[in-house]
Amino acid sequence: MKKLHTEVIAQAQVAGNFLTDVADVFLFILRIIKESFSGHFEFKEFFHQCYQIGYKTLPLISIIGTIIGLVLTIQSRPALVDFGAVSLLPGMVSTSLIREMGPVITALICAGKIGSGMGAELGSMRVTEQIDAMEVSSTNPMKFLVVTRVWAATLMIPLLVLYADGLGILGSWAGANIKGDVSFSLFFAQAFASVDYIDFLPAFIKSIFFGAIIGIVGCYKGYNAGRGTESVGIAANSAVVNASLLVIILDMIAVQITDMLVL
């Protein structure tokens, strides 16, 4: 009986901690919104973060985008050849890239690179009292560090998704030419003929939310890191895990909503 009682209390504490965390995240988001629209905006730092998040992630996204398009084409081609439907290949690949593969894979890569970077950088700044130093220098660290990073991620990740989509289709054309012979202009014409705004728009909108989630989770974990050096690793790790999980969950919700609206 006593063991059961202890177990119930332990479970209640876990549930209580979870609810406290949810409330903390909610308050953190409210504060980001408030700080974004009150007082001056740190444009210089925002552009610096856009450069860090956008430009510095380009090489990685270039490689991954191209390979995804190439692999998708090589894997799909035999099945389409069997059905005599190889002409559908550009449309099929472009639709799957634009609707799903491009946004989700780019977001997951960014959750790993950008989310962990934010978690580690802000966590390290917290541990070494740089955030406190900023505060005593009459600088609002929430505005300078968090708001700029979240908006930069929200803006740059959808652009990276578009870039990955483009390179994915280019990779697909390269893949189609390994065993076939299709001109660049014909492949692209067929690829884009199959894509409607209903394929592009929901994917672009969900990419914006992916960017916001990656920025918020990375900053939340780093900004609220504990005091020891161990906390930096924990912040970086949990930023990646939570951001990736939330991207997948949000993708599932976005697909359901798109499906309902299209029907």
Partner: protein
């Protein structure tokens, strides 16, 4: 004249969960005075100055800086008050991603917004020369030694001409010679910038060299207060343990 209190703390209490770090601390810092706060690790010294700078919110009691109660003023007022307070962090807290120049310019551009580029350059060089590191302008914090980081951090703090300086363990982790240099620097800054300072330390040499008055904290309370000579003559075991 050292009779005007620039900081007044009354019955300050601060706890983290069940752990009471500050039980009831009252003290005053007078104008142009160097007050040393001595105490063992965990006695609540750093928490005390973080409460003064508004980085931690007291559970009870009051912290008044220039006649303004830190807990009762708005965020904007706190920002304005902080412009008069310099805080030297234990590890220096230099911004890793910025050069020394950018570190120094960061508070200057935000607090003294009306300065021209020439004035900013001049001020930056002036404080660097004051801490004896005029050639470190373009270095990154990772390229600096522990003592150099402390000096640059000190330069970043004094660049905005604060009226109060809060030093959190300024000599911790430094060799005796560098510790002595930092203590000398604290005195020079006090003379040159006419600051009032609270120096948190457990380094007795630093306390001897810099302190006009000493307060000893023990288990979250003021244990003893007086001049360095009074501490040196004390027969109390705890006090003697610091002066061996």
């Amino acid at each position: 004249m050292k009779n005007t209190a620039v900081i007044e703390i009354r019955n300050l209490k601060k706890a983290f969960g069940q752990q009471e770090v500050l039980k009831s601390v009252s003290l005053q810092l007078f104008d142009k005075e160097n007050l040393v706060v001595l105490g063992k690790s965990g006695s609540g010294k750093s928490v005390l100055i973080k409460c003064i700078a508004g980085l931690l919110k007291p559970d009870d009691g009051s912290v008044t800086v220039f006649d303004k109660n830190i807990s009762e003023i708005s965020r904007e007022e706190l920002g304005l008050l902080r412009e008069k307070i310099g805080f030297l962090f234990q590890g220096g807290a230099l911004y890793d991603s910025m050069t020394v120049k950018e570190n120094l310019e960061f508070p200057l551009r935000r607090i003294k917004r009306d300065l021209t580029e020439t004035e900013i350059r001049k001020k930056t060089m002036e404080v660097l020369e004051n801490v004896g590191l005029a050639d470190a302008l373009d270095k990154m914090p990772s390229q600096l030694s522990g003592g150099m980081r402390k000096r640059i951090s000190l330069a970043r703090t004094i660049i905005v001409d604060p009226l109060i300086m809060l030093y959190d363990e300024p000599t911790t982790g430094l060799d005796p010679a560098t510790s002595d240099e930092i203590s000398t620097l604290i005195n020079e800054i006090q003379k040159k910038y006419k600051t009032s300072s609270i120096i948190i330390t457990h380094d007795i040499n630093c306390a001897r060299k810099t302190g006009d008055r000493i307060i000893m904290l023990e288990e979250g309370e003021v244990f003893k207060e007086g001049k360095i000579e009074e501490f040196e003559k004390s027969t109390n075991q705890l006090v003697k343990s610091f002066f061996l």
